[in-house]
Subunit: 233 residues, 2 copies
């Protein structure tokens, strides 16, 4: 481990040195390979992850074997909200969608540090509020908006967390996130492609008109983004 780890997680960046430095000894840099599961439904959560690069999806597995995404976490947040809130486990699964890296911390150490430092606690709780709004909007969005709108929203949200216009995603994976058929994604991708907003090849979607994509997306993208800005800046 280097003497000082470079920090790109925005929660940690927001901390003054006096609040950040005591945490440093607990951090273990880890890479986040594609499709890795960071926490499994119903099992005890061992670590929290402050995402540095890449993107992690919160997904809900369903009894019929399908799954659907309910939230997204990038370098603006951390994986392990249940630990902060006092739960040992959660029915949700955290799965790496876009490969990257994170700073990992033992759940027990995390719990201890947080209860000791109220500034840290306050910051993390504001993040929980932002995530809560994101999940709430997902509920609304899944109920009321069309697939192309939701796809546009998803791509924009992912882009903000991936910090790249090129996203390594197959239609198959997108269909799991959006909770629809793979063939349905192909059609929706087709409409955005025809509109000149994105390009795609095998396992890769590229955003070429961010503005246009925002217009094609439902209001949910903007609402959630504004809420993150409001709460975490």
């Amino acid at each position: 481990m280097p003497a000082t780890i470079s920090i790109s997680n925005r929660l940690l960046v927001a901390l003054a040195a006096e609040n950040l430095d005591p945490l440093r000894p607990h951090f273990q840099p880890v890479s986040l390979p594609h499709k890795q599961t960071l926490s499994k439904p119903g099992t005890s959560i061992e670590h929290v992850y402050f995402v540095q690069q890449g993107m992690v999806s919160l997904v809900q597995p369903l009894e019929n074997g399908t799954m659907i995404e309910v939230g997204m976490i990038g370098n603006e947040g951390f994986v392990g909200v249940p630990v902060l809130l006092g739960a040992e486990s959660s029915p949700l699964e955290a799965m790496v969608q876009i490969p990257g890296s994170a700073l990992r911390m033992q759940a027990s150490a995390f719990r201890e540090e947080v209860t000791r430092r109220s500034t840290l606690l306050a910051l993390l709780l504001r993040y929980v509020q932002a995530l809560h709004i994101q999940v709430s909007l997902s509920a609304a969005c899944n109920g009321r908006h069309t697939l192309p709108e939701r796809l546009a929203r998803w791509l924009l949200t992912a882009r903000d967390r991936a910090t790249s216009d090129e996203l390594p995603l197959s239609h198959e994976f997108l269909s799991m996130m959006l909770g629809v058929r793979r063939a349905g994604v192909t059609v929706a991708v087709g409409t955005l492609k025809t509109a000149g907003l994105i390009r795609n090849s095998h396992g890769r979607v590229t955003i070429i008109d961010r503005q246009g994509l925002e217009a094609a997306s439902c209001e949910c993208y903007r609402t959630v983004r504004n809420e993150y800005e409001r709460l975490l800046s």
Copy 2:
């Protein structure tokens, strides 16, 4: 105000006297009339409400003038999670669905008490986790389950909070909660009625076969209920 207010909110009941008594002076008993709004999107939240009886819906208003429910709060919880998490406001609206009563507290006093008492904080955070799971499952449910399943889930969840098998609800209101057409609700109610699970007349739905309704509902009802039990008992 009576010398001691009788407490039926389950969060407050779970507190030992030493943690509850300091809160008592802050409580103002209020009634929750049907359709009252407890907090409006985007406006500063003045009070938190520990629900004693009745049920409050968290709804997301959308740009097209419709709305959809993302969460439900009864005597197992409180209205005002954003205050606990450090936000002044939220895009969600809290609206009384089933009339009842609550203990109201100034947001500022609430914030102060909570930061001072870690037992109280820990309890309320576990509730936030349970609510978070409920909202997450709503997102999944809205994306993947059929209307009769979702209606059954909704009725069961409402029943648990109303503590009565007779719910004062019109199809119109149910359609707002479920984010579907009023006529769609009528059809879905019809299928549950034909199956002998519920009865309904003007502005009233009565559950007559709770077990059967649970079988007709999707897994989401059970998942969420189990999570509440796990976290709050």
